[in-house]
């Protein structure tokens, strides 16, 4: 903690109620088994439009969106309360693409016109807005931008390809990064219905929906710029920090659910005439997961709080949360499978989806070692 007084890491009464409501709603309507259902039925949407609308009606999608854009005007912390619960059941709905990437990009860099045009639709669950930043040659470094924005008479002409654009198959708007100068790049807001845009759906292990977005000479005006010309890098970094924290909240929820399922399983599963949860070696390993969960909860809450209250602390706390949540989720998912034994590695059981999501989230918005490196830099070493 940089200050001597720690920020509040507790949920207030409203947030506790929100957490409880979200927990129950998601548990009842959105079990993790849906990942299998969507996959096996080759569902074209890949998530439930109805559920997304219902959550909009519950106010969850606009929690953090200012009231002037039809949101509730609460904080990022409140959003994280819902995200944690959504993570428990690995929901494939467009939380990351729309609430973490698209919305944050608009809130942090959008013009008044862009916000007015899109935020109400997001809060209403009608519009999906995503960000495309990954390219095939970027090796995970979003600052390596090959997509080019050439100056044209009345704006820019964009060409190039973005990979694994989350919910790119259904997004009403896609924000892409494109090189606008030798050293800088710019974020542009696109309508995928525009001529020159090709969308190819991808299939990932984790059940999130992604697409390849190919642009061939797509024309946009200067009004499509999100943020400032050539300043896409710093803006995207701010977006990534928030997205990393929100994703960490989902990872926390997922870890907790995997752990809870595992504890329940080892209490029930008998071998050698006793529950396997009575074996001390398993018990001590379970405690190791438990302690990591407790630490992860603290850092996720602190990072979420910082986004609302202590902006200067966001970079380091976002890196802390993402690094720790990634390792905890992977650890919890691995132990969950191992402790479930044979049944745990079958496709029939849901626990296997947790390790798939763990791998995907580990690799998204910077893996732990990258965040540790950033932490070191932020601490001057």
């Amino acid at each position: 903690m940089s200050g001597h007084t720690a920020p509040s890491l507790l949920l207030n009464d409203e947030q506790k109620m929100l957490s409880k409501t979200a927990h129950e709603f998601i548990r009842d309507h959105a079990p993790a088994s849906r990942i299998r259902t969507f996959r096996d039925s080759k569902d074209e949407t890949g998530f439930s439009r109805e559920l997304w609308s219902e959550m909009a009606d519950l106010g969850w999608l606009g929690l953090q969106i200012p009231e002037q854009y039809d949101g509730l005007g609460l904080g990022f912390f409140d959003l994280c309360v819902v995200l944690e619960q959504s993570g428990r059941e690995l929901m494939p709905e467009p939380f990351v693409s729309t609430l973490l990437l698209g919305t944050q990009a608009l809130l942090l860099g959008g013009t008044e016109a862009q916000k007015e045009a899109l935020l109400p639709g997001i809060a209403a669950g009608e519009t999906l807005v995503t960000v495309g930043y990954e390219e095939s040659g970027s090796h995970g470094d979003a600052s390596k931008v090959s997509m080019a924005a050439r100056k044209s008479v009345d704006g820019f002409e964009l060409s190039g390809e973005k990979m694994q654009v989350l919910d790119g198959h259904l997004a009403g708007r896609i924000i892409v990064s494109a090189a606008t100068s030798e050293s800088g790049y710019t974020l542009f807001l696109l309508d995928p219905a525009q001529s020159g845009v090709t969308i190819t759906r991808q299939s990932r292990i984790d059940g999130l929906n992604a697409a390849i977005v190919r642009l061939e000479s797509v024309s946009v005006t200067g009004e499509a710029i999100v943020g400032e010309l050539d300043c896409g890098g710093p803006l995207l970094q701010l977006v990534f920090d928030r997205a990393a924290v929100g994703l960490s909240a989902q990872m926390l929820g997922a870890s907790e659910q995997a752990f809870a399922d595992t504890i329940e399983y080892i209490k029930e599963r008998e071998q050698f005439g006793v529950p396997i949860g009575s074996f001390q070696a398993l018990q001590h390993r379970a405690v190791s997961v438990y302690t990591e969960l407790a630490l992860t909860r603290s850092v996720v809450l602190a990072a979420a709080r910082a986004i609302d209250e202590v902006p200067d602390d966001v970079p380091r706390l976002a890196s802390l949360a993402k690094a720790m949540a990634s390792e905890t989720f992977m650890h919890a998912a691995q132990e969950a499978i191992q402790m479930h034994g044979g049944i745990g590695v079958t496709d029939e059981h849901d626990i296997g989806f947790y390790i798939k999501r763990a791998q995907a989230t580990y690799m998204t918005f910077g893996k732990p070692s990258e965040h540790r490196q950033r932490w070191a830099e932020l601490h001057g070493y």
Partner: protein, 401 residues
Amino acid sequence: MSDLEAFRTEVRAWVHENAPESLRGTSGSGPFEGYWGGSKCEETDPDLLRWRDLGIEKGWTAPSWPREYGGGGLTHAQEEIIHAEMKTIGVPRPVAGQGLAMFGPVLLEYGNDAQRAQHLPGIARGEVRWCQGYSEPNAGSDLANLQLKAERDGDEFVLNGQKIWTSHANLSDWICCLTRTDPNAPKKQMGISVMLADLNTPGITVRRIDLISGYSPFCETFFDNVRVPVDQLVGTENEGWTIAKAILGHERSSIGRSIARQPGSAQREVLARARKHLGAADGAVPDPLLRDELASLGMREEAFHLTLARIQQSAASGAPGPEGSITKIVGTELKQKRFELGMKVAGTQGLGWEGPGFDDDDLEYTRDWLRSRASTIEGGSSEIQRNIISKRVLGLPEGKK
């Protein structure tokens, strides 16, 4: 030159002369890689089939089995040499699979002459494929808890119940089952019998089990009044646990060994992925942390191979050390580390399940990574292995089971 050295020279020459070019460098030459055969086999690769036939002709599909049963009549030391020479150039053994690796040896040790004569030649020629029937839903780590009922009825046993993790049962011809012949035995390790069953017998149904990798060799096999002739009982009725333990011990060490592909191959594989995905064609891997992890993996791989060699040498010298029991644990953890690191260097390119935007190698690797999670569970979980070492090797007092 000793006799064995002379034999090695001879084997090396034969292998170099006869092993099909197309198969060289394709295999770790373990007991489970290559042509598994059986009546349902649809193998069409002419080189693989020719290699099989050459092996059968030499008696080198089962070098140490008696010639009368289709083997080569050689010593175990000679057998090791044959397998080592095939491994050197990376060709698979002419015939592979569980029949050769596990059930043949069981019949040689515990079966009677009639059983050997009936079953061994088909195994040695790759004509009859075998699978195992040990675990049940409530008898995994606690295998002795098995409940598949076998009741005597005249000259037959009638089997009812279920087996699980019956790998490749859908592709096999026969199954080797652990059954409960005396449900009233005072200890659950008693009253167990080993039986061989033709999978075509009426009443047997097989259902495939997919793993988290999306596919798997595993099946569930259900027995509904399945009649097995009493002459397919191996060993003494109700005393099958001794045989079961021997089979499991064999399975454990063969899993450990089967992970041991060519020395250095795990390191090379992950290095190649690092070069591909990190965009570093040669020289030092640019990420010093990944490089360090890769070196750890490479070192551990080498240590594992050296340990396997040491165990093999001390077994050959007549004094098998207790270290054999660790190969399952170390081998499977090494395998998992390899895939974890291989996934880490691939970043988001490792996240594909199928289809566009991911190349085939990456898609396959991701499935293999998922498959590797089972390795510390199947064939006796790491936890069970640790219990065994704790008790039998370290002599620590038993707590609760």
